[in-house]
Every structure is written in structure tokens, then in C-alpha cells.
Amino acid sequence: MSLSPDVESFAFTPENEERARAHIAKYPEGRQASAVLPLLHLAQAQHGGWLPQAAIEYVAAFLEMPKIRVEEVASFYDMFNTGPTARCQVRICTTTPCWLCGSDDIVAAVEAALGCKVGENTADGRFYLREFECLGACANAPMMWIDDDYYEDLTPERATAVIEALKRGERPAPGPQSGRQGAIPFGGKTTLLEV
């Protein structure tokens, strides 16, 4: 992994700094390094979806951690991007349950809708498309994760509709796109009928 030195400096906004201090306060004195994950998330959100080298060094200094420790964390988790990405992040789960339910078709449909391949940004720089490992929504497979929201029970058509809506600047309702509530069976409840 290499870090991107393109951005010269990074600092939390006053609001984020306050949030960061609240995260640190959750841990005992001297254990502030425990807050590295929430702080990296804050930094990534503030910087538009990815972490430049300056942000990693800022968080390291903020938590009095060696820089390499923060780089280790940032490079370990797929949720952190260490290179420039578009602001809107589309991640399609392609792990076994989603794959069995046709995630390959979802990937093809989204690639067609966005006009870019997995691992790329769209030409207009608005979307970043990537594959992702299991996101824990197997009961609603196949699914994709866009920014903070899960879009589940996808078919190629539904996935394309979500992407098209996003392209128009709308925020389609997250959750199962099939209309069912949560992960209840498609034919209605089969247990706990009295509840």
C-alpha cells in the first residue's frame, strides 16, 4: 500500500474535533489509541471518502500514536480508502451468498449504469465502484452498500434504478428493494404468527 501525499494538510473541523474528543473520552486515560477507528472514519467522511497521508498523520498526532500504527489500521480495513476516490461510494457484495443469488449480474448492471468498471471512478468523478466482501446482509442477498445505506434484495433492474436515481441527485429509500420488510420471508411470516 502507498499513501497519497497529494493533500498538503488536514485538520478536523471544530465539530469533528469535538466528536473526536468525545470518542477519546470513552476510553481510559492513556488508552486514547483505542479511538483510532472512529477517528479515521471521521477523517475519511470529512475528506470526502478517502484518507490522504496528511489525514493519517493528523490522526496519529491527535492520538499520540506512531504513524505506522495508524497506517496499519487504515490499510487493514477495506472501509478505509487510502487513495483518491469519488464522493459517492458504491460497493457491491460478491461474497458467496450474494454471489449465489446473482451478484455477478448486479455488478454487470451497475457497471453498465455507471459506465465504469469495478475499482474505478466514473468519468464525471461522482461515483466510485468496487466489490466488497461479506457485509452481513446475506438474508437479503444480493445487496450493495452505497455511502451509509444498504440496498438489498437487488435484481439487475432494481440496482440500475437505484443508480439512475442517484445519478439524478435523488436518494432512493434504502433497505430491501423488493418491498418486503426487513428479512421476513417473501410469502409472509411462517413463525411467530401471534406476535
Binding site: M1, L3, Q53, P66, I68, R69, E71, E72, S75, F76
Partner: protein
Amino acid sequence: MPKLTIDGIEVEVPAGATVFQACELAGREVPHFCYHPRLNIAGNCRMCLVEVEKAPKPVASCAMPAADGMVVHTASEKAKRAQQGVLELLLINHPLDCPICDQGGECDLQDLTLFYGPDSSRFAENKRPVADKYMGPLISTHMTRCIHCTRCVRFANEIAGVEELGATGRGEDMEITTYLEHAVTSELSGNVIDLCPVGALNSKPYEYSARTWELKKHESVDVMDAVGSNIRVDVRGNEVMRILPRLHEDVNEEWISDKTRFVYDGLKKRRLDRPWVKRDGKLEAADWRGAMAAIRSRLDGVAATKIAAIAGDQADLEAMAALKDLMGALGSPNLDCRQDGAKLEGARAGWLFNTTIAGIEQADALLLVGAFPRYEASLVNARIRKRQRMGGFEIGRIGCPGDLTYPTTEVGAGPQSLADLLAGEHSFGEVLEKAERPMVIVGPGALARPDGAAVLAKAREAAERFGMVTDDWNGFNVLHTAASRVGGMDLGLVPGEGGRDVEGILRGARTGEIEVVYLLGADELDTRGLENAFVIYQGSHGDAGARVADVILPGAAYTEKAATWVNLEGRPQRSKLTAFPPGEAKEDWRILRALSEVLDQKLPYDTPAQLRRRIVEPAPRLGRIDRIEAAPWAEFGAAGKLDDAPFVSPIADFYRTCAISRASAVMEACVEEIRGQQLKATGSDD
């Protein structure tokens, strides 16, 4: 104390031991890569899998606590299959470049594959390549060979105390690197080369220069500092190819500093390989006879009190004894081994590291006075850090600021702070008072100054006041930087009745009161004062001393003689002849012995054995190799006025402290890169 059965052998192990350690106690070998007894347990190579009865799966023995009644099989069918499987997986991405790999022949992966591995691979796909990382001028990397044991990362974090190495990425993409591929700034970084069980981290200076089986391995002793690290010098022909550490639990454990490890290229440069004599202001090549004759004719008629001798920082015991005898025969009292002007005097306890290096682990509080052990004695510092990591060890510091790799309480900057501490004006006094086995380390920054004797006396007062000296504990320690210092003091290489010390000699040379100065490898002097005098320089390298010399007598460097050095604990250790000195250079004591004959003062020994008998006669302890004799507590130091100046460590540049290291191109590269990076990191310019 749990009792286990290992392959049918019953062993009882201490509580808290692991299954791996139990197997070792039972004498059963368990293959392993990531486990290292001096590092935290990681359990990530999975090579040490063994079968434990009633456990559903093979167990990683290094990370499994030994429990009472466990029945372990290290070589059962199940264990063997598990070990073989792990090795096959490790080898999937490991390149088959053993024929060109520096680790070949001393590689754990090679050895274990031979005994535990599969005979062939079932992996037909492409191997995973990894880009090599830059880690500085000392460590070369071949990261494709890395098996992710993380020993290097753990070493940097735990032992070296420099959190710069890490593992980025995850799973197959995991890579060992330094942050942004900066050079590792630790003074112990070379040890990761030894720790690396494969050929991923190699010695950059040694790279591709020899194969291990061509090398002759000699056990020797290091002289870069006063620790006396045990080393192994690997030689091909007459050339030192590399230097490695040798295990000595009480001195250097299994580590050595980077200066010790990489200085050897300095042994091949700027060497004095023949005698030189100055004629009409210019040095001319001479032979031994001519050089000796020049000395004889110059010394003719010079009063003994106008002759002086200074022993350098790396002089061996034998040469210093011969020098002392020669000066005695000439009748000169002007003799000194304290090249840096350290005010050491009085009882032996006043110049020893009485606690001993291993003894640091028993201490429970430490006061550093004018010491910066990280660069003055890196392995003493590593031991302090080891003790600090065990917990319950507070460290106070007076003077010599800088990162020691462990937290310290700043007590002050100069002698006055020591006086204040004694007067109870600093809270660290309570820490020392409460401690059961407190210790103090007085460094060269406190002693090599005009009020050094007074500081020494004050430190002694502190040792007594805080109960550092009892019947079974001596917490008073002097830290030296010179390998020759304790030996010189033990031999009594100090000014005789009415004699001059180093400062007096230099002053005398300037005024003409001293006409002849004999420098035995002494280079760390203000040589400007010596221009008026007739200077005889005996040593191995053309450095500061040789530059002002009128006669140069080429001596042997530390790897080129069988000689004795006494380390800071008072532990005599003997090196072996590993390579012959270049050209006409000779063993140092032989030069002095030959000169004595030319000067009609023939010294009464012709063989090393006779000389050593002469040395141990007054001090039998100097003949007891690798044994320490505790020094009785007695008077040392002198009352006097304390200066206000803060303590400053004499080592401004860790990588260049002696003639050998100044001649080394590798050390030069370290200065540029590592030192530069450290200064940038701390933002200081000291």
C-alpha cells in the same frame, strides 16, 4: 506447577509456561518461525502445531498455556501432517531463489522444509510478488521472501523501542514496511536481520559478498563501546566479511548495536600498514628498524618527566600493561588512560558498573546522572528498557536530554539538581527512598568535566543516602564509553607521583614542558596542543593521532589480535586473532616490547603468556576470563565546588566515535540518513 506428558516424557513446567516451552524442556524440537523467546508471542506462523489429546484440532503450541495433565504429541501423524501443511502453505508464495539468497545455508525456512516440509508443491499458480521496501543503509529487503512472522515488527516495538516497522494491508496483501519507507532509526536495527527467519531482511553491506559456508567463524569481543558485546567475526581469507552477535545472557543477550555490527568496512580503510617517520615536516615511509631508531635518537637525553603517554579508547589490556611498564622503566609518571578527561579516581567501586548489566533487571528505580545510555552503551540501554517494560521501574534523569526509548522523570540538568535531590527538594527522591534496590548510573557527561570528581563524590553521597549500597546490592554504576577504560583503571594507567593527566599532558606539550607524547591509539583528543611535541602514534588507523605524529607505528585493530578487554562491569573478555593485521602492522604489545629493547629498557616478557602472568600477578581477577569480582565499597571522588553547566553526553554522533567507525563508509551513510531523520523527527539540532 503443571505436569505434562510430551511424547511420553513427563515434564513439570513453571506456571505460565507454554506448551512450546514444555516441549523444549522435554527436549523435543518443535518447528517454529514467529516464536522467539525474547519477543511477545504472536502465534501467526502456525508452524508449531502439535497434537494435544482431547483437543479437536492441532494446537499452536507457542500460544497455548501448558495445563496440568496435557498429553502432547509433537511428532504424531496428525502433528506431522499439520506441520507439513503449514509449510506447504508458507512455501506457496516463497520464491525458489535459495541459490542467490544471502540467507541460504542459515535459513530457518530451508532447514525446516528439509525436515518437516513436503517434497513437492501442489501449487501451480503464479506466486505473489511483493515490492521491496527501502529501510535505510543497513537493511536490504527482499519482501517476496517474507513469511509474515512479524519478528522484526515486534523487535522494533519491544526491544528497540522505535515504533517504525509495521504490517500494512491484510491477508495476502500484508506487507512489512516502515512508514513511507523511511530508514529505521534505531541503533539496534541490524538485529532484525538475525531475527528474520528467511531472507527477507538482509545485511545491506554484506549482501551478495559471501556464502555462509565459505566463512570462518571466530568468537571475539566488541570494542565499539564499553559493554564488551560478544561477537562472532566471520572471515573469508584474511577479510572480515561480517560481524554477528554471540549469545551472552549477562552482557548483550543476543543483540548488538549497529555500530558493532556494521563497522567492519572501516577495518579495511585508512589503515596504517607500515611505519612512517616525519622528516623535514613530511611523513616518509620507513621500516620498523628506522622508526624505532628515530624514536631512540629523539628520546636520547630527554628527561623522563618530559615524556608522556596516553592510552586510547580501544587499547587492549596487554598493550596498556606494556605501555605502563615501558613508562615505568623510562621513569615517567605522565601516563593516563582517561582520554576524555573523566575524573575517575579512588576505589575500584568508583569506576565500575557495580550492579552489572544483568543486575539492572533486579533494580526497582534508576537515576541517570549525565548519562545517555542509548548512544553511550546501547545494550545497557536495551537492558534498562527491558526492565522498564516489566513494570514497577521509575527512571529519573539529570542532564543529557533526548529520546532514550523509555519514559523518564526529568529531575534537572546539572550538578545542582543532584544536590537538590539529595536535599530532598525533588519528588523523585521519594521514589528512590521507597525503592528496595535503587540504582544510579553516572555517565561520562557527568565525569568528563572539571568538576567531575566532585560530581562523582556527590553521586556516591546519593548512593549512600538512598540506600543503594547494602550487603547484597550495589546500585552505584559508572557508565563508560571506552572499551579500554576499566582495564586501564584496573592496571593503574593513571598519573604517577607528580605526574600529569591528559589535560596536563596536552597543556605541557603546548608550553614545551612535555617534549615526547606516546599515543597508544588515542585519537579523540584535542591534537592541536600536540603540534610542538614529538608525537609517537601507535595505532591501526590514520586518524587524528596519526595526523600530528612524528613517528607512526602501525598496530593491529581489535579483530587482528588475541587480546583482553575489561568491560564496564569489570568482566575481562578475550578476543581471538581473526585476521592478520595489514602489511607490516603488528600486535600492539609486541611493538612496545620491541621498542623497549631499542630504548635499552627491555621488558621482561617475550610471549603473551608471560605478559599475562605479569598482568594477573598484582590483580588475579584480570586473568579470570568472563568472571566479575565485586568491588568493595570504599572512598572515591573528591569534595569540591560544583559547576552550574548542564551535563552533556560526549557522544554527539553515535555512528562515528572511533578511528574505525570514522573510516567506515557504512557508518558515514548512517550519519547522513538515520541521524538526519532522527533530528528531523525530534526537531532538535543537538
